[in-house]
């Protein structure tokens, strides 16, 4: 081959090699750049999630604080007022020289005021269940189902782990609220006759499995039951837990939640 031809071959081969090298470098750059921006994006997403999580937690804590204040106000102010009124009415009733009509009226008034006192006691107790703080989650759950069994003709079976370690109040209150919401949903929508609850506690997690034998619903119609379910999800999400529901028409309803037990040094009073 002539010198000129060799030069042409050389130029073509070198040019092609150079372009290939550039293409390879471009591809490598893309891989590294893409990895970097996706990692950055994930980090931002994680920060955003953490922010959302703390907002959610603060909202739930605010709700609980407000419930507590409301319960205290009801008990201490209106409850005390009604107790005073009841005392006065009973005193008035026991006075001598009263006609029959007045006596009937006072008796009726006493009865109504006592009913009011009892109702306020129940409402304030529901707002902040003292049993939870004093005796723990299992007792609080068992306590809150007693009136439901009596008034709704429901059979509720609760099975729990034999050993139940102390839980942070935050976790037990969250689970109790979700349980109350689930029972309310069953009563309002499911027309069930039986509820089964399985509460398992391990050293690391606490799980609750809830099933009813109600009419069930198509899982795509979940929006109809939206707010309650979203509230439950938010509560469990705030506790870094997982929450699943499953239902089929005429096949009842099932919910499962699992929350990691993160023992903090300051748990604001532990439950047993």
């Amino acid at each position: 081959m002539r010198e000129e031809e060799n030069q042409i071959i050389f130029i073509f081969v070198v040019s092609a090699a150079f372009v290939v090298l550039l293409a390879i470098l471009l591809v490598l750059f893309l891989v590294i750049y893409q990895k970097r921006i996706v990692t950055q994006e994930n980090r931002l997403q994680k920060l955003e999630n953490e922010k959302q999580q703390s907002l959610l937690k603060a909202t739930i804590e605010g709700q609980e604080r407000e419930r507590k204040r409301l319960a205290k106000d009801l008990h201490d102010s209106i409850g005390s007022l009604l107790s005073g009124l009841s005392f006065n009415l009973k005193f008035q009733k026991n006075l001598k020289n009263q006609d029959q009509q007045q006596l009937v009226f006072l008796e009726e008034a006493c009865k109504l005021v006592d009913e009011g006192i009892e109702n306020i006691r129940i409402v304030s107790h529901n707002l902040i269940p003292s049993t939870l703080e004093n005796f723990g989650l299992v007792s609080a759950i068992k306590e809150c189902i007693v009136p439901l069994i009596q008034t709704n003709n429901l059979e509720i079976n609760i099975q729990t782990s034999e050993e139940f370690p102390p839980l942070p109040l935050e976790i037990s209150l969250g689970i109790l609220r979700v349980f109350q919401e689930l029972v309310q949903n069953t009563i309002k929508h499911a027309y069930a006759s039986k509820i089964e609850v399985l509460l398992i506690c391990t050293p690391d997690t606490i799980s609750l499995e809830y099933t009813d034998n109600g009419k069930g619903f198509h899982i795509n119609d979940i929006d109809l039951y939206g707010i309650g379910i979203k509230n439950m999800q938010s509560r469990i999400q705030a506790l870094h837990g997982t929450f699943f529901i499953d239902s089929k028409v005429k096949k009842g309803f099932r919910a499962y939640l699992e929350v990691p037990i993160i023992l903090k040094e300051d748990t604001h009073g532990q439950t047993h």
Binding site: V13, A16, L22
Partner: protein, 210 residues
Amino acid sequence: MTLVYIALFFPLLPAILSIIKWKSMDTPQRWFAILLWSIVIISFSGRLWTIQTQESNLPFFYIYILIEYLILLHFFRILLKIKNSSWLFLTVGFTITWCINICTGKGWWAFPDYIHALEAIIIITLVILWFIKMLKEKTIAQPYKTFEFWICAGLLIFFSGNFLLFVFPKFILNTGNEVFLAIWKVNNILNILLYSIYTIALLCVKRRIR
């Protein structure tokens, strides 16, 4: 000559792999598998034709270019969600240019020049568009684990490396057959590289979860 045969037989590797992976493939991947088998069939037919008739197999090269272009365009149409009007324009426009190329001058028997360069420009543009899409969407954290990334990387390297050869084939041919054959070795090496990358791409095809 050995290099020519290696380059001829190399597409068989990804083509066979595409049969093994067929069940796990999605629609664009299956189109790609069809492309691989079309390439194998055309390449071997061209070689057999030359052996049988001792004539040039350039007509097969024209068919190869058209089929490669149309299937790759369809592949990118799915990947990039190209509008029907743009896809139609690129398909009809290229096919008309292809027809003009074979109906003018020496036709089938001349080495394809601008038609191959046009194909390279369009494919490189589509590849760059896919890379831009990947960077914009930020959904692929590890691109080197995806089928699409390897296909695009292979096409970019192959078409950019061969670009000078596709743009100036007449000039190279005019300098003499020996020069052309020497430079054509670059094409063979890039072909081997391309089908090796296609093989890697096919190895990235994962079983779909139903």
